[in-house]
Amino acid sequence: MRPALRGLGLVVAVVALGVVIVLSVWLGLRNIPLSQLWRVLWHHDGSVEAVTVHDVRLPRTLLGVLVGAALGLSGALMQALTRNPLADPGLLGVTLGASTAVVAGIAFLGVSTVSGHVWIAFVGAAAASVVVYLLGASGRGRATPERLVLAGAAITATLYAFNSAMLLLSPQSFGQFRFWEVGALAGRGSDVLAQVAPFLLAGIPIALLLARPLNALALGDQVGKALGAHVGRTRVLGVVAVTVLCGAATAAAGPIGFVGLAVPHAARLIVGSDQRWVLPYSAVLAPILLVGADIIGRLVIAPAELQVGIVTAFIGAPVFIALCRRSSPGRF
């Protein structure tokens, strides 16, 4: 795509995200006319509509935007760091670390509230990714992409085993966990948003600033070093950013797969392999998918809701497949 068109495309995507945000605040089980929506948005007059907008839809929408951006960015980072187009942000053990912590929290500590799960999940995500990085970095002090991938696979397998054993030995925990596992934005109020927003807002700029050194590293560690990139520093910062972003996103909304894997691919199919474009595109396209899926999940079987993790896969996957069919997939 020509450079001028890339910029224009990004503007179009941002506008589309704005439209999706407005729709997400507007649409739902309770019908609120646009004029009234505008009024209660600025004047919290204590009416049912105002409470719905301020306490339910706004936090949910903002959380969706932040979680989506975090998943898209951490996926793009992960694929660039490991130079593996099949890497997804969960590969560092972040997602399963969070799941394991939540399972343990439910089974041993009896934690059953959404906001209680958030901290536990975040601690688990961070711990797992530190272990994976140490394991991957252990080869003569350097974390080569191949070792990171293998270390991630090893830790993921072990945690998966632990999870399944606990869930099958304790049916009550499984009864709670199966709903967390699907991934949802519903029922997350402003308290959850306040818990995770600082981490997400700190992680996003770190991720975006890594675009230039990651471009250099795409050619291999040696060439990257010759081009003036700090190999070790870039990798450590990258892992920190992935952990913070994906960990906080998983803590807030449960393990939402696919977004982090597919959106960076879509971004690369549109703009090529320049990380300075791939990262921003991923950060904008992912929330469009996530918030859009959340709106549809709210409306399609109203008054019940379909969890966002399910809708994301069912909307995102056909688009992704169509994109893969249309053009030859971007390699590194």
Binding site: L150, A157, L168, L169, F174, P329
Partner: protein, 339 residues
Amino acid sequence: MIIRFRAVSLRVHPRSVTVVITLLLLTFVLAAISMTTGDFPLSVSEVVRTVLGFGDPATEFIVNRLRLPRVLIAILVGAALALSGAVLQSLTRNPLGSPDFIGFAHGSATGALIVILLFQGSMAEISLGALAGGMLTAALAYLLAFRRGVQGFRLVLIGIGLSAMLLAANNYLVTRASLTGAIAAQTWITGTLNGRTWNQVVPLLIALALLLPPTVYFGQKLALLELGDDKARALGVPVEITRLALLAISVTLAAVATAAAGPIAFVALTAPQLARKLTAAPGSGLTAAAATGALLLVAGDLAVQRLFASPLPVGILTSAIGGTYLAWLLVREWRRGRL
């Protein structure tokens, strides 16, 4: 090392041969342990006599009805999954290109879950559902990826897209089910050998016997394909057909294994990697991978039966063993300063 005998010459990698023989011996020892120990301990000679058909009715039931089919299934499923993973990882030249990540297993799971949760089907029906689900998913992925030939990487990506939808559908089915149904489904998804009989062994044996010749024939060409399409073509390999055949073999192996025992996680991913590290040989190392897979599953199933009071699915221990062992190998390499 090269062995020549008249017109035949064979290149042998001594360390690989040692590793494969050791793995097979270990598998045999563990299989013997799991045939002789348990709630009803038997001596080795009693087991041998019973297998040959000279046992009394009680040992006959325990050995030939309960223990033998279970051990055979563990060996066959482990080898099939590992082979499937080794072929796919070599084809995509990517350690993540295993059936676990591309997840045709999710298609098998969807088929099985529909049978378990919507029709309360028998075990044979569940196996059929899993087989149909897995093969349909793979066929659909192939059709969607077809544009003037199939490029391996595009197929993998489309497989990921499809499996994301199927995984979501599986999760949805599990949240909609009753807790009892959900636990039954979860047990199946984790992969278990509990309650397996000759009804699962015989079809598995036939399927693998049919798949073995093409696997050996096309498997030899994997090392050439790893050089890249152009070089392989220059060396006389019909690239497109070979790749299609290998993909079909890998998918069928995984689907057949999954139909017999459920999607046992991470064997296809870790076994080929472990085999590669153990043999330190170049190339795809199909034999070593198959032996590693068989050993992993036999060991996991033995541990699951003896360590836990309630019968847990074997998938749990294969991932635990495979995962920790891979982690340990990485740490050991670090100590030795290799890599």
